[in-house]
Subunit: 252 residues, 2 copies
């Protein structure tokens, strides 16, 4: 059985054309046909969006449509136990981040305003679900995961933290990255061994004093990433990776 | 004293025009004059390449030249204790990586060939020092560090590992990222509390069996990053960040 060198083809219920049969005819079909040049009988790694992983055998392929006979694992992968609260970065940076965050593994992405976020960042197309969903799926296919991160966008920081966050993140450890903090992420997580962790990353210029205090008043513990000043996208990747490692997901 | 919002201006001995006087007239001057619009008397964070951090007071500024009176700290920042051994990625990825690696903090970058590295990757301009040095400096200025990573490029993997590596990395813990490995980076580092750590990251398609065995025969321990398949650049950022956190650099 030859498993092609593609990380994962993500399917969803709309693709289902029979009990175990799925037909794809969009960019996935283009990739399968033109890049991987699949032929009937070949086997691919597949996954059902927010469902189990599995394998698909190519039943038929035409110029624009590939039909797969799929067998799925009994279990669905666990939702990543790391969540991200992020002050909305510049559209160019946010565009790059979607796939990266989904690949690294986050349960949810909570985007927020802050004093040092420019208002017009919220007008961008990269916050439209039709734009970011394909990017998230690209990241999942890269990482071989099926769990689509939940996304919410909040234009009022104070309302988010005071009124909404307990519903979005009811239980777990809340951490906020702060250049001045002496406590490290592994130390903060080792203390309580939480089920989930929410990592807050501020805007390019940092949270202001009011925002940091409000976060602390709502259970966020300050953690440092060392003396180096990192760009927002690098800081997100670093924090999420350290978060997963500290939560014990570092082993395969 | 107003410290301008620039992370760091890196100076070198060529810029020195007096005992504590430095004059810059290249892209740094353009940035100082056109972006930050500095005027005499203003104070900036400065650093001497591979030397100490400090502060610079603008003495004079013309259309294309800024002169700074600098006072430096007594000590030079420690060289980052994390090193990277990387199978040369695609030129586009490598171009993006230079500044990112310098910002994250690596003592040295050892680039190598491997079976799954395409030969023509070595012909690219991004491996010319004149191209990558400005990108490394950009990363240092971002992160507020002065320690330029050492770079070496090796077209023969076996000769590198068998004959060169002991001189490049004489002492410390050697780790190789391997998707199948159960041991995590923090576990591997906690065991021996090394002075330095060398992290090996393979090509997009992974090391082949011979390469992995040769690495293991030369003291590399396999470590996993969890079940997720990450892109090379994301894997580098994740590993270096976890490496720093595990080495105890996570605190400010």
């Amino acid at each position: 059985m030859q498993v092609l060198d593609v990380n994962l083809i993500l399917l969803n219920e709309h693709d289902r054309v029979g009990a175990d049969l799925f037909a794809v005819s969009d960019v996935r079909a283009t990739h399968l046909l033109n890049v991987l040049r699949v032929t009937p009988g070949q086997t691919l790694r597949v996954g059902l969006l927010d469902g189990p992983l599995g394998v698909g055998v190519v039943e038929s392929s035409t110029d624009e449509r590939v039909t797969l006979h799929c067998t799925f694992d009994p279990d669905t992968p666990e939702r990543p136990r790391v969540d991200l609260l992020l002050a909305l970065p510049r559209p160019k940076v946010m565009r790059r981040l979607w796939a990266q965050l989904a690949a690294l593994g986050v349960g949810q992405i909570v985007l927020t305003n802050a004093e040092r976020v420019e208002r017009n960042y919220f007008d961008t197309h990269v916050l439209e679900e039709a734009r970011y969903r394909p990017l998230l799926i690209e990241g999942l296919q890269q990482a071989r995961d099926t769990r689509l991160p939940r996304v919410s966008v909040h234009k009022q920081f104070r309302i988010l933290i005071e009124d909404r966050l307990d519903a979005l993140f009811p239980a777990g450890r809340r951490l906020v990255a702060d250049p001045g903090a002496a406590r490290s992420v592994p130390d903060a997580i080792a203390q309580t061994r939480p089920e989930r962790v929410l990592l807050a990353v501020g805007p390019e210029g940092g949270w202001n004093a009011f925002e940091l205090e409000l976060l602390e008043a709502h259970g966020f513990m300050r953690v440092g990433l060392g003396p180096r000043a990192l760009r927002v996208d690098t800081a997100c990747t670093a924090l999420i990776a350290i978060g997963h490692a500290a939560m014990g997901h570092g082993s395969g």
